[in-house]
Symmetry: C2
Subunit: 320 residues, 2 copies
């Protein structure tokens, strides 16, 4: 399924570069390679999964339209892919999503419905909206076509690292529900079995890290309260967790402040704009070296949709 | 020479992506493709020319060391390539170069000598420094190996645009001395003869635009006074101008403010960090549509080494 998804989406997605920097290597004391998915269309890897899922719909499903819930990156990915395929899209977003994400999703032509993530359940909101319709639900990670689309990142990592002669490596992936991490893990299991995927999450939202440790699905006690909005998911998915459990190494968690610092270092040394939630993997690689086993570490910078005020404050605080 | 340079440098350079954005296309009312050379090692295309020139030196020349002058991007390109080849590098930089460029050049291990670009002649400074030495001078653009290295950008543009089915296109290139523009023009003359290179410069430093118009080398009256430090060259080169004259279309010039606006739009919609001088081509494509002839326009975002204060002020002024 991943290879099929790759063939469908490759002509429409950006083969994002694997960047590196002398200065980041110095900080990490090893070789850090950054797969810059913030440069993907709509500013995150979610475009891949969205394209994969929508391009796999039947003509009847396309004419009915799609619905999903997302804090913003999956929202934009689905909205853009839906617009391309002329499929109506309805997106349920938390009202505290970054303004830039809500604005971009609307500007891509999707219908946006806001809900309060502290008091409302997004699944329930979806069922209510969809009660008298038959919109196709494309969940952000618990969907085989979405996972297969995200897996295309793994195919590109494999090609790019083979070219550079990178063999053994830890591949750190920012993780919310685990769709990207499981897609990449499945790709690399086949293509580069010596590479191991490890997840990165914000402190206090480290459900995957804890689930991998206990061997069963663990939940976060909160659903908001971190600047890393893109990766604040209650728990790993029902489809993704068994994959993660089988294929991934120990998970990382980093503080919001470490994510912000990593975001500023990516600006300074790679000249890319990464959002805090998209920088947790880089933060793990830079600040948790004692938990790493390889000379080469590949991190996925998963998204770049950051509100400018947050970006500005971060530069003010940490840029040299 | 370009193909040979490409073979030498390709394993060591980043095949930078050709980015695009729905929103930028909307602003320009055509398709804009951005070759993001700000993502290149050392933050600009200059790494290519530096690598090309240093890797072409004889063993004797390498042991003697190299010298050059540069406002900062060629400086970093040479410094990094020299460090890789274990060649001592001396770089003469204007004292008003962006601090980030001076700092990075030093941190790459080069010896930096500052001069005042209003009162001193950099050629003279070079001759004085090199008086009792025999350092090999690698000029920033009037050097065949440097031009050949920059031409590798044209090879990549050709491959990437063929993949996307782009045939007729204007390729707008930020230009100081014209090394990159002439290298790309030579590549495309061979590979995509239907594409035409056009240069972009800041207003009042539009020596190439005026030279192309008059048919002979014209000079700027000033050498400083624009935020676009990377492209403030007195006049086109002796090697580059005949190439530009033979192969390029009409030049563009844009205001500092338009360059700054383009820099902010690249941040917002492409999630890349471009310096003002590296954004003049994008500014031309976005704000001078009436002077463009093609549906597809490729622009090279040549560098990303911007002082954070300038970047911050630009976000404050123009980010939405």
């Amino acid at each position: 399924m991943i290879m099929e998804a790759y063939d469908r989406i490759a002509p429409h997605t950006i083969n994002t570069p694997l960047l590196s920097s002398h200065s980041l290597n110095k900080i990490a004391q090893r070789k850090i390679w950054v797969k810059a998915e913030c440069l993907q269309h709509t500013g995150s890897f979610k475009y891949r999964g969205g394209w994969s899922a929508i391009s796999a719909l039947s003509a009847d499903e396309k004419s009915r339209g799609v619905i999903t819930f997302s804090s913003g990156n999956h929202a934009q990915g689905i909205a853009a892919a839906a617009a391309y395929h002329d499929v109506p899209a309805t997106i349920i977003m938390p009202s505290d999503s970054p303004g830039v994400k809500i604005k971009n999703t609307k500007s891509l032509g999707a219908k946006v419905i806001l809900y309060d993530r502290e008091t409302e359940d997004r699944g329930k909101v979806e069922r209510e909206v969809n009660f008298d319709k038959s919109l196709v639900l494309i969940k952000p990670y618990d969907n085989h076509h979405v996972i297969a689309g995200q897996g295309s990142v793994g195919i590109e990592i494999s090609k790019q690292s083979n070219k550079k002669g990178i063999k053994d490596a830890e591949v750190i992936v920012c993780a919310g529900g685990g769709g990207l991490a499981s897609g990449i893990a499945l790709s690399l299991e086949k293509l580069n079995p010596k590479m191991i995927v490890r997840t990165a999450e914000p402190d206090n939202f480290d459900d995957i890290k804890r689930s991998l440790k206990s061997g069963k699905i663990e939940r976060n006690t909160k659903t908001s309260g971190s600047v890393c909005d893109a990766v604040l998911t209650l728990c790993p998915g029902e489809i993704t967790f068994p994959i993660l459990k089988k294929l991934c190494g120990e998970g990382f968690s980093v503080s919001d402040d470490e994510a912000i610092k990593a975001m500023v270092l990516a600006y300074e040394h790679l000249r890319i704009v990464v959002e805090p939630g998209g920088a947790v993997a880089l933060a793990a690689a830079l600040f948790y070296g004692e938990k790493l086993n390889n000379e080469d570490v590949i991190v996925v910078a998963t998204g770049g949709n950051v509100d400018t005020t947050i970006f500005q404050n971060a530069l003010m605080k940490y840029a040299k």
